[in-house]
Subunit: 256 residues, 4 copies
Amino acid sequence: MRDLQSEKDLRNIPLKKVGIKNLKWPVTVMNKYDEVQHTVAEMELSVDLPHDVRGVHMSRFVEAVKEMKGLSLGDIETMLENLRQRLEAKVAHCRIDFDYFIKRKAPVTEIPSLYDVRCSFDCEKGEDFKFVMGIVVPVSTLCPCSKEISDYGAHNQRATIHINVEVDRDIWIEDIVRIAEESASTPIFSLLKRPDEKWITERAYMNPKFVEDAARDVAIRLENYQGVKWYSVHVESQESIHNHNAFAYTEKKVEI
Amino acid sequence: MRDLQSEKDLRNIPLKKVGIKNLKWPVTVMNKYDEVQHTVAEMELSVDLPHDVRGVHMSRFVEAVKEMKGLSLGDIETMLENLRQRLEAKVAHCRIDFDYFIKRKAPVTEIPSLYDVRCSFDCEKGEDFKFVMGIVVPVSTLCPCSKEISDYGAHNQRATIHINVEVDRDIWIEDIVRIAEESASTPIFSLLKRPDEKWITERAYMNPKFVEDAARDVAIRLENYQGVKWYSVHVESQESIHNHNAFAYTEKKVEI
Amino acid sequence: MRDLQSEKDLRNIPLKKVGIKNLKWPVTVMNKYDEVQHTVAEMELSVDLPHDVRGVHMSRFVEAVKEMKGLSLGDIETMLENLRQRLEAKVAHCRIDFDYFIKRKAPVTEIPSLYDVRCSFDCEKGEDFKFVMGIVVPVSTLCPCSKEISDYGAHNQRATIHINVEVDRDIWIEDIVRIAEESASTPIFSLLKRPDEKWITERAYMNPKFVEDAARDVAIRLENYQGVKWYSVHVESQESIHNHNAFAYTEKKVEI
Amino acid sequence: MRDLQSEKDLRNIPLKKVGIKNLKWPVTVMNKYDEVQHTVAEMELSVDLPHDVRGVHMSRFVEAVKEMKGLSLGDIETMLENLRQRLEAKVAHCRIDFDYFIKRKAPVTEIPSLYDVRCSFDCEKGEDFKFVMGIVVPVSTLCPCSKEISDYGAHNQRATIHINVEVDRDIWIEDIVRIAEESASTPIFSLLKRPDEKWITERAYMNPKFVEDAARDVAIRLENYQGVKWYSVHVESQESIHNHNAFAYTEKKVEI
């Protein structure tokens, strides 16, 4: 059979990424307490394509996923390096998105439960290896302005804190989640009894935060976190008084 | 050219709906103040297929959409009747979803603005004509339990009230939106100044509602609304203390 | 603390469903080969609420999920019966959606791989127990009309076959997936080498199917499948010549 | 009332973007034939926030949207300049996404119809004004490898071509759509009769394209298009033999 992908291409246009997307695959991730979490990932994998080759053999990407052992930095770097060599590319990328569960006790009754955060690993292997971990943490924000101007109550709402960190070592998802939660009006939980609900309601009221406040508080904590070379933070609140969202965003390269 | 769709089918399986989905099309809707609103609809159209015919000529559905004048009950009934005849069907259906904008003044400063609700028309033309209007209204709910047990504050959040009504006449989207908003802790707005924000915050605090309360308050109002033969109400709040939603649902045939 | 939910309600409106939605939770499912699959579910749980009680204690739903052993019919019935008793309800419902992976060998090279289908369990426990399994299977359809009228080629596309079956016993997801795939122009795979791609291309060309054909072929197979009391089938193809989809739907109560 | 947003902030963290998202608003766009199109936009607006100010008055963004005349380059630059001044910011951004309808005659019968593309305007006003137009065009791709290795047929599928161009003048959406369509195996249509379907089927078969081919063919055309300072192209095909997508991406600053 003729191999069209390997043929010469005369258009002289190099492509930065050629690959596959939306591939779902079962994966395992280690949590901070040395336990294995099973979850389902959605994957994107690609390589660059030089100006004079027509195409990429796409089945190699699925083979690479099949061979992957786990989702540690080492596992992913090995997988990308193999892709790079087999496909004769300069750079190989992957992005892996998955649900991850955080164990958490209710603040007063201490009843344990789980809740989900959305994680992503965005990785590139060329001459160097670059690893960016992304986490979306659901939290609650209570509006300082609403509290200040109102005789009673204050509008509050579910918000999400999106943190991306480029790191030079494995770090724990749980640690980044904690940074997000400490920067919000209050963390949120799956299972709360009435004494817990009272605690959260009062804590949020005593700890009002604009999206701007939460973004800055995350930024300060990330600048002091070991191993972070670059970060971005996006805080978005599903305003309970509007049908649109408010957000604050910043990013920074950190001097190490 | 051979016409495969019109050929005899021997499998003896009648189909309830054969048609097209996800067709986007520009449409106009009349609002309560006799003004034309331009918006974009997403359409599904179908007919039933008897047990002995192989297929439907799908291009007829797009032709029917092209010929449609507007979105009044009369326009839709005419379009479905034409489809039914051209495609020799017993029943023709359509579902039309679109964004619709509500004009609203802020509660204190009275600055006017717009906000969007999602509407649907779900229609069937057989021997009779059946018309179900659906509206999703964004509102705010404040938790009665959280207010009761807490020394200050109360968790609140954006919620959506989904109302479907089967009616025997044209009714105004604005009227159904009002029913939803009167049944929530407070309506929401696009544009609020500080005096407005104070008003909403305090009103929500004085008017706490569980999803169960909002659903029942909508139900009572719909039972007294002229021309409603059946209704359903689904209230869903994006709980600001959880990463999951709370909801309440009911439906009822109304004696007219 | 006052218990608002348990208070008397005078509005005289019973609610059909009160509960929680969008709760993500890690679960395990047994596959046909006696192996455990770990996946992530999205859950909805609810009970009915009598006309004279104000609300439901929502934390009970998360407790019920925490206690659930697995996703067998027996596990789910037990969980719903407990909910029904603890919440003093007449009926308890749940809907559980999850990704499930099918093991499959490529048709010629026989290289094994995985691909995902989306499953749902929709269950109700009142005096009786009702269990509806839903599966969305990605397949390929090739247009018979396009093949017939064209001198070469035929348009084809990814399609999805949505099957729901009400059953009176545990059945295997793999069996329902097979019924969907046998009714399409060809099944689809994650990992294909060139001899496999040739096989699939030619098989689809020799086996053209309208959405109407695929729906009927599924229906015939389901009517002869043991234990099915009711079924629905929806076939939707992402037409490669249009920016909208074509679909066919039917449903039927089966005489057992 | 105290104005919390205007207070001094001591955290010393400047924010790159503070604003609102997911605001829906009715808008009008001029098409290439001097006609007005009415559609619904989803908007994001933001400004930067200096390190020593606590927050942004978010209601100003909705006021800016209310005052906007249209969506020409001039209209948007004026709106952003006003925002920048009123909010005392260095930079103001907006992103506006909307459905846009293309008029098109069927290739043989010449029956006219409409189909939708998704557009975005991504704009930044600081010392300079930057305007990036994005368009997602649905097309069809037919696999060259599948055609080559198979005795008959070839798999094909719906694909999307995502083009972003940074331009220094108003350009027509219709022109960018044409570039995308000329680079695919065949354009797609809403309304086709059998002679049209034959034409498209045969044309796609005679014009096979990998995602790599389509991306390169778009790139060549964009490099020769007047006024383009930078472009990106992403081609993604919903592979009809897989449950995942294939894609190719590149971007380039163009020497003008």
